[in-house]
């Protein structure tokens, strides 16, 4: 069946992301929360994460490019990003956020800026991975919805004949 094949492809892809260290087991926990009543749960979480991450990175860009860096604000934004990235299984991005926090504790602007570039790269890698998962999840949802409608369509056609 199309849906099953897509699911296997998705599971294989997630496993590859585990092996590459891009996702950890927390993503599996997120996926395990999805059920028939909430078939788009993973897609919704990915969308929310991307929205939060983009906003957080935009805020950090502004603050870190200021003449005088407000390290308390940097810590606050980085803390949020750490929480959301670790919750979705983005372990490398979460670690990068922790490093920025340490640089903030040392009031080291240059180090913060360096690490921020690294964190953005980790985010881009994670985003690419999550986008692929999002599209695969969407395909599965569409395939399942199509499969559910097909018996009804066949029944309708039979009545019309």
């Amino acid at each position: 069946m199309v849906g099953t094949t897509l699911s296997q492809q998705l599971n294989n892809y997630i496993q590859t992301m585990h092996e590459q260290g891009i996702l950890d087991y927390h993503f599996d926990h997120v996926k395990a929360l999805q059920n028939e009543e909430n078939p788009r749960f993973v897609m919704e979480v990915i969308s929310m994460f991307a929205h939060d991450a983009e906003a957080g990175i935009a805020h950090l860009t502004t603050v870190l490019n200021s003449a005088v860096v407000d390290f308390a604000k940097v810590i606050s934004f980085v803390h949020q990003l750490k929480g959301s990235s670790s919750s979705i299984g983005g372990v490398r991005m979460a670690l990068a956020c922790r490093e920025i926090r340490h640089a903030c504790d040392n009031l080291d602007k240059e180090r913060c800026l360096q690490l921020f570039e690294g964190m953005k790269q980790e985010y881009n890698t994670l985003k690419e991975c999550l986008n692929i998962i999002f599209e695969m999840e969407r395909s599965i949802v569409v395939a399942n919805e199509t499969r559910r409608r097909q018996p009804q369509m066949l029944e309708t056609n039979r009545h019309q004949q």
Partner: protein
């Protein structure tokens, strides 16, 4: 990682998720992140709890002032308007005896200890895991049996 009343792996029951029926338990998730609220909401509902959410500590306190009560409160630390530590202190001052569990990304042992001292029963690292929730539900069910 947990601070407070610690459960070691040996003390954790091997009871499966399905064996713990929690239809009468209620929970409040307090977090400024919509994504975290959604994750914790779904996670707790999967265990059969009835869940409400609040965006910050002040909203949580307002719920209690309006007469709401919950068996379990999951409290984030860093929130605008009123953070988790202040909200926890206020709830305890109000006489709230719910199990209040900190869920935070904070790494510093000092920050986490300060959060515990605000009146938490336990403190976990974000994100909450199934093992964490199992432990909390066992504690809640134990408390209910004792009362």
């Amino acid at each position: 990682m947990m601070l407070g009343n610690c459960a070691t792996s040996s003390s954790l029951s091997t009871t499966s998720d399905e064996d713990i029926v929690n239809n009468n338990l209620t929970a409040l998730v307090v977090d400024d992140s919509p994504m975290i609220r959604k994750l914790h909401d779904m996670h707790l509902k999967k265990f059969g709890l009835k869940v409400q959410v609040a965006e910050n500590g002040k909203n949580a306190i307002d719920l209690f002032r309006c007469g709401a009560s919950f068996n379990l409160i999951l409290m984030d630390k860093e929130m605008p308007i009123m953070d988790g530590a202040e909200a926890t202190r206020e709830l305890r001052t109000m006489g709230v005896t719910s199990m209040i569990v900190g869920v935070t990304s904070l790494d510093s042992i000092f920050d986490r200890q300060a959060f515990m001292e605000a009146g938490l029963d336990h403190c976990f690292t974000k994100p909450l895991t199934t093992e964490n929730i199992n432990f909390l539900l066992q504690e809640l069910n134990k408390n209910n049996e004792e009362n």
